[in-house]
């Protein structure tokens, strides 16, 4: 097989890894404002914070490792398709900048939230986690939908469409698709990783979100198929629709493991649809204008060969030890497990400073 095409597929695989794994991280982050209950019937505001901590701790050991899939996808694009990396990152400047800031505040908020035991501090971190989850969940979809639709390039492979052209209706709907899919994926993950009331609530939410996803993602996919995509990706759309229906069935039967696998299948299908539509370009031209093809963008066969050896050795290893991490932390969490906040209070600092 042509190495450049192999790398096009491999980059799709890396993005799949990213969207499937950080997809539920984003989902959990977004659900921070939706799932936890702090009303009198649920034990008051203390319960809300405990439920939030359950949610954050479900992804605690893994979110950073999940985010590395993005860095790997970016680095691999740089190595294997320098022209693609250069055109995409300079062309999609503003969305990427916003995503970067969102990922920064979100990551720091995860790590620092529990470090200071203070109500205001926790609220600020929760806000950062939520903004840092909602915004990229929307923007990744906008970016990828533009790659499906095609972008305005000049003959030198530079993106010349400007920022506002990226906010077309098809791309905005695409943003809504990733948002809903991540929300669903996160809800299923929470259902899989928690017990008690939180689990039941997450199950109900996941079931409802599946219908929403069926409408939103289904509508977008049909639009993509009719206007931009290849014939074979119809098969992918059918698989995704089937998987979404499967999520409803599985959550109703409390088979969260199956539901999670199925919502992951939906995301795999989304990547297949996106990359299938782009092929044989990495950045299709808008309305048949100049495009950047896989062949034009790719590195030399030597570099691709080197990177192939590296990727074939290391990717299975990464999958193995990341899978082991999920095995180690396989138990469900519940509010009963949550210990008292361990972070520093001013009082403790003062006491220590005698």
């Amino acid at each position: 097989m042509d190495l450049a095409i192999f790398w096009f597929v491999l980059i799709a695989v890396l993005w799949t890894g990213y969207l499937v794994l950080e997809g539920f991280d984003f989902g959990v982050g977004m659900l921070l404002s939706i799932l936890p209950r702090g009303g009198a019937a649920h034990g008051g505001p203390e319960n809300r914070d405990k439920e939030r901590r359950v949610l954050i701790n479900t992804i605690g050991p893994v979110w950073d490792g999940n985010e590395v899939w993005l860095l790997t996808a970016g680095g691999a694009t740089f190595a294997a398709f320098p022209e693609w990396y250069a055109t995409l990152f300079s062309g999609f400047y503003l969305p990427l900048l916003i995503i970067l800031v969102a990922l920064i505040v979100r990551g720091v908020a995860f790590e620092y939230r529990g470090k200071i035991s203070d109500e205001t501090w926790r609220r600020r971190c929760d806000l950062a986690i939520q903004v840092g989850s909602w915004v990229p969940a929307l923007l990744w979809g906008v970016a990828f939908a533009n790659l499906v639709r095609g972008v305005q390039l000049d003959d030198a492979h530079q993106y010349v469409g400007g920022f506002w052209a990226l906010l077309n209706p098809f791309a905005l709907l695409g943003g809504l698709v990733t948002l809903v899919l991540f929300l669903l994926h996160g809800a299923v993950f929470v259902a899989l990783k928690t017990s008690g009331e939180l689990r039941e609530r997450a199950c109900r939410l996941a079931s409802g979100l599946s219908y929403v996803a069926l409408v939103v993602a289904g509508g977008w996919a049909v639009w993509a198929q009719v206007a931009y995509s290849a014939t074979w990706t119809w098969a992918v759309v059918v698989v995704a629709a089937g998987a979404l229906i499967g999520v409803v069935v599985a959550t109703r039967r409390s088979r969260e493991g199956q539901a999670f696998a199925l919502s992951a299948v939906v995301l795999v299908a989304a990547v297949a649809l996106i990359f299938g539509s782009m092929y044989p370009d990495v950045m299709p031209g808008l309305d048949g204008g100049p495009s950047l093809s896989i062949a034009d963008a790719s590195s030399t066969p030597y570099t691709l060969g080197v990177m192939t050896v590296v990727a074939l050795i290391l990717t299975p290893l990464v999958l193995a030890y990341q899978a082991w991490t999920y095995w180690v932390f396989r138990r469900r969490l519940s509010v009963r497990d949550i210990p008292a906040p361990a972070g520093l209070t001013w009082q403790r600092v003062k006491d220590a400073a005698f």
Binding site: F78, A79, A86, S90, Y93, T303, R331, R332, D337
Partner: protein
């Protein structure tokens, strides 16, 4: 300002900022791993307490390194797309390798380490922090491989058709002698940073506990903090020697590979044999070396740093004027736009950053000697000056690293990819040619402002957390976490709730 200037400022700001957290991460991960190893092997609780104490500071720091690192990878494409087009075939490979070989390991195993205290068996848990320690150092190797190629491109040919650099041999890129000098230098500097950090904090704690005069506090100083002072200072001394030796090798390579950087490090106008190294200089360095007056000089030292000879014909060190003449002949006197090219970096910046790098590094090494003296043969000290010097010393290796990078990156100018003087045809790129052409100055300015604000806020949060967790001191050992006290029930906990 033009997009070029803004993009350069942004790169400088985000990179120097990122590299505040990186050296501490690189050096502290192995030190924490050593502490935990000591606990696992001896069962002595002092090492567990130190592991938890410095481990927490390590985590607060690590988070900042992670989030600011993402910006670095994206920035090449966003602000420097033309650079990325030119070098991607070569430069992208080490970046991708870093992510696959190192970054995955460090982030995954750190997660296991943080949340796995109760779930993993003691030895497996220890292996996790060692995996992190090895991976952060491996990470540095790949990033320095990419950077060293910009300083001294090897293993590459120029493709006239595409106008791009193409990799000929990954082995040559990874065997670059510039890399094998820069890697030990950077790693040694990172260990110097972490050693100073551990020794400085432990020294401060030791002194204040001894000064209370209360018996249990003095014994805490003796049992827990003193060993940390010793660990930190021994690390500093070994690392300090490593920094000096590897820096010496780098100087000799720089003389061959980037004579302009060497000449401006000394603000040397015209070439000379037995060139002196000036410690203090006055005059206007900003535009040319003409107005410079060296005040305090060490005879022949600059020549020695570059050539290994103090005097004689072999000690000849070219000045910036020689380099300008030679480079003009080789690479032309105008750039693609027809503007004249000055092949001399900013003299004041190069000259002073070189000296500040050395000065700050020597400063922290001085603490190590003092500390070893004061803690000799089991002693603890109540010398409050020692505590102060300990705290003051902590920032010095950070500053030395920052100035080191400012020196090595600005000294390469006007090149972003410096030409290899032994000749690989056409593999060179002026910085001005690397900037993105489709990104407007306003957009770069906007992102510059956003990063400055976000980074500023985070710096305050980071500083406060580091400060507070430092003055909280070593935690008491929580007994249900030590294996002797562990009951069957504990393994039922799904994870250690760190968040």
């Amino acid at each position: 300002m033009e997009a070029l200037d803004l993009a350069r400022w942004q790169f400088a700001v985000t990179t120097v900022y990122h590299f505040i957290f990186v050296p501490l991460t690189i050096g502290l991960a192995p030190l924490v791993a050593i502490m935990q190893t000591a606990w696992v092997r001896t069962g002595n609780e002092r090492w567990l307490r130190l592991t938890k104490f410095f481990g927490k500071l390590f985590l607060i720091n690590f988070a900042m390194g992670v989030v600011t690192g993402i910006v670095q990878e994206f920035q090449f494409g966003m602000n420097w797309s033309e650079y990325s087009r030119f070098v991607g075939d070569v430069f992208g490979a080490p970046l991708a390798m870093e992510a696959l070989a190192a970054f995955f390991v460090e982030s995954t195993f750190l997660g296991l380490w943080i949340f796995g205290w109760d779930r993993l068996n003691k030895k497996v848990h220890l292996a996790c922090i060692w995996a992190v320690a090895v991976a952060v150092n491996l990470s540095a190797f790949f990033i320095l491989a990419a950077n060293s190629w910009m300083q001294h491109p090897v293993g590459t040919r120029f493709n006239p058709e595409s106008g791009r650099a193409e990799m000929e041999s990954i082995w040559a890129v990874l065997a670059n002698n510039t890399l094998w000098a820069a890697f030990p230098h950077t790693i040694a500097a990172a260990f110097l940073t972490a050693g100073t950090f551990v020794a400085g904090i432990a020294a401060w704690w030791m002194v204040r506990l001894v000064r209370t005069g209360e018996e249990h506090k003095v014994s805490l100083a003796r049992d827990v903090y003193r060993p940390a002072v010793v660990l930190g200072t021994v690390t500093m001394l070994i690392a300090g020697v490593g920094v000096a030796l590897s820096g010496d090798v780098q100087g000799k390579l720089m003389f061959q590979q980037q004579p302009g950087k060497m000449a401006s490090a000394e603000a040397l106008c015209d070439g000379s044999e037995s060139a002196n190294f000036s410690i203090l200089t006055i005059g206007d360095l900003s535009n040319s070396c003409e107005g410079v007056r060296h005040i305090l000089e060490v005879p022949g030292l600059a020549s020695y740093l570059g050539t290994g000879h103090f005097s004689g014909p072999e000690s000849f060190l070219p000045g910036v004027n020689d380099v300008q003449a030679e480079y003009t002949e080789r690479y032309g006197d105008t750039d693609a736009a027809g503007n004249p090219v000055v092949y001399t970096p900013n003299l004041a910046l190069t000259y002073w950053s070189f000296r500040l790098m050395i000065g700050f590094a020597v400063g922290s090494a001085a603490l190590a000697v003092l500390a070893l003296w004061l803690t000799r043969r089991g002693r603890v000290t109540d010398n409050k000056w020692f505590a102060r010097i300990g705290i003051w010393a902590i920032p010095t290796p950070f500053l030395a690293s920052s100035f080191g990078w400012i020196f090595t990156e600005t000294g390469r100018q006007p090149w972003v990819v410096a030409p290899n003087p032994t000749g690989i045809d056409q593999i060179r790129l002026l910085t001005e040619r690397g900037v993105s052409t489709v990104v407007s100055p306003n957009l770069v300015l906007a992102s510059m402002i956003v990063f400055t604000v976000v980074y500023g806020v985070l710096a305050v949060v980071w500083g406060r957390l580091m400060h507070r967790y430092t003055i909280e001191g070593v935690p008491d050992v929580v007994h249900d976490e030590s294996p002797e006290a562990r009951t069957g029930d504990d393994t039922d906990r799904p994870l250690s709730f760190a968040y």
